[in-house]
């Protein structure tokens, strides 16, 4: 043992601080766990709308599934997964997809490319794609090889915020207030190369200021890296999502999206502006090359989902979702009412109250996520719920009247 006390090894905590995060968050998580809201185990006689706890027989509706169109339990998608398993006779090829790709995966890239109007790079998840691509944006290797200042929106998803320290090895990393275009323009004036990292439709509600971002791209060459997981499939004529339906692909735009939400399957895709970018990322985007990629059943499910996206059924599902969102907003107006997106928050303020509300609703047959810091800002704890196409109006009414009823006892 050393004679003197060892030097302090605590890190600089520029971009993350586990200790302060856990000090703030873990008590709320523990309360949620104590209330039986964490790690609930279920069978699924009807995928989203009748989840059953086997031990007690308790049935409930999942009000926080992000399967916005109900495609995760669409019979054709289940059959698509089975078809791929039967055709390939394998779970996957157990080799880097940089080297060998199953033709089913290649077909999926082509079909989604056609559907969304972009070159499609698939990955095991949106998180894996972002882990691989963002550091290359930071070092400038998707553009002219010169590093870019990386400006992360304060509300961007965890999967992007996670990569800040990795990007900071390559370049200057900044965090801006949510949708703060003035700040972003200031940075664009100050530095010749800037990238903005944000959600399209935000996981906790709200959306990116797309028109302003497009303008900054035109005027300053701002690179846009946007995760649009929460609007893929639900918006756009082909389900291309909030961002892609309003932005043309180009060499300064990368959109990533999960296929595991509205699209109903799993894995993720990056929408790219060129085949050159695809070829480069296909070998250098970190986990996309050296970790798993989409498994063959999910590829098969995704081919089936693509077929639904090409059929009139997509428009029908989008319409039903929109009607449910509108119905909810009329019946139970919240801060995001009228934005056309399906994430809603019912804010109560303190984590304890959020847990209490969620707990009581769960007893009444509805699972809604209690959310608190760091998922949402301090003082904004509450419930996060999602509207879906596969909810009935009656069920939404039943939910909102229960929320009102419980809140009246607070």
């Amino acid at each position: 043992m050393p004679q003197n006390s060892p030097p302090d090894i605590t890190g600089p905590h520029r971009h993350r601080n586990n200790a302060s995060m856990l000090r703030a968050a873990d008590p709320a998580w523990q309360r949620a766990a104590d209330a039986g809201l964490i790690g609930v185990h279920v069978d699924t006689p009807d995928a989203n709308n009748r989840l059953v706890v086997r031990e007690t027989g308790h049935e409930f509706v999942n009000m926080c599934s992000v399967g916005y169109l109900g495609l995760n339990h669409h019979p054709a998608i289940i059959e698509g997964a089975i078809d791929a398993l039967r055709e390939a006779q394998a779970t996957w090829l157990v080799v880097s997809t940089t080297r060998i790709r199953h033709n089913l995966l290649v077909r999926m890239e082509e079909e989604l490319g056609d559907l969304f109007g972009a070159h499609i790079l698939p990955g095991a998840s949106c998180t894996a794609l972002t882990a691989g691509i963002l550091p290359l944006v930071a070092s400038g290797h998707l553009t002219d090889g010169q590093p870019r200042v990386m400006v992360f929106d304060r509300y961007c998803h965890f999967c992007m915020a996670y990569v800040k320290p990795v990007c900071a090895e390559e370049t200057l990393v900044l965090t801006c207030d949510h949708n703060d275009l003035d700040y972003l323009e200031k940075i664009c004036r100050q530095y010749p190369r800037v990238a903005y990292v944000a959600d399209g439709a935000y996981s906790m509600g709200g959306a990116a200021a797309l028109a302003g971002l497009r303008d900054l791209q035109e005027r300053y060459g701002l690179f846009l890296y946007i995760d649009d997981s929460h609007s893929l499939s639900i918006l756009g004529e082909n389900g291309e999502g909030f961002v892609r339906s309003q932005l043309e692909m180009n060499d300064l735009t990368v959109i990533v999206a999960s296929l595991g939400k509205g699209f109903g399957t799993g894995g993720g895709v990056a929408m790219l502006g060129s085949r050159t970018m695809f070829e480069f990322l296909h070998r250098h985007a970190g986990p996309v090359g050296w970790s798993q990629n989409m498994s063959l059943p999910l590829v098969g499910a995704s081919l089936a989902s693509a077929a639904i996206h090409r059929s009139p059924e997509l428009g029908e599902l989008q319409r039903r979702l929109r009607e449910n969102i509108d119905h909810f907003d009329r019946t139970f107006p919240t801060a995001f009412a009228g934005n056309g997106l399906p994430v809603r928050r019912i804010t109560v303020g303190e984590p304890d109250d959020a847990v209490r509300l969620s707990e009581e609703l769960f007893t009444r047959g509805f699972y809604s996520s209690a959310v608190f810091f760091p998922i949402v800002p301090r003082g904004e704890a509450g419930l996060r719920i999602m509207l879906r196409a596969d909810l009935t109006t009656e069920l939404i009414d039943d939910f909102t009247s229960n929320v009102r009823d419980v809140l009246s006892t607070f």
Copy 2:
């Protein structure tokens, strides 16, 4: 535009440097691509051993599949995936598994826990688990809340090296030479809390110095974080792998492993020493909570693989693999001959020669990965091949005689 030139924004490149990595690696990748060795598209009439390029009819054997036991195309595992899809009627529940878990996933955790003698935390991939867990090891939240010096083995897999800058936000991060126990002991003497991050069976061949590591753990309380993806299923009575078969689980040991290699399915697991650690990581291990987890078809496939692991078939497959490894080592001795693990490297030195050898072998019906910096150290370019239980002796002989034949022309 600013009047003065903008300040230099280049990052410190302490733990990564895209520019130097790409300068060294991309030309070799480009040569491999030009030789038709990158992004090969195939059908799979016989999953690992007859891959077919549809456009040309070219058939080849995949000599770099890490499906070591051939379980990725085992009929029972394919049926297991299909059974889960039929039972759950869903691809997944589209909600964080921190909140709601399908009983099939819970059953898988229990069965693998029983099989491997550990508490099992599942994740979308080994990479996702490491991204979530390592920063909590760094900040000390799996132990006493005080940060630990993180010593990464120089050869540890990309998925761990990737997380260095994230850990460096929380604590001091060091890199040691491969299996350098003397250095590691020096650090253990210098600091009261140290963690070592390494592979068990290394992806590029070789293994961790387990006996010495166990000794350092006993003497200094060294935390061990080991990725044993390349030996799961192939070693140990229940397929628990190289590391778990020699180390007891405790509060200072985390083993992670991919289920997508020897195990034959996809996703990954962390083996933990206590249920308390499971509960903590289940909510705080980053992407394990806020990204996708294992999809239901892979959960079903994994339940089927677990059943094979409990049957005499596992021992039979392990024996066949061992025989193939021994046969290869007798016929074609390489640096790793005799280590009982299935990864072998045929070193030629320069990337150009590695690509030329791989290209010629591909023409002759064998796909082997040309590997070069940064996959292997500079000057050690060559082929990486893997032995498998589902290769015949004849096929191995055919391969080695072709390698000899091509090398004789160099």
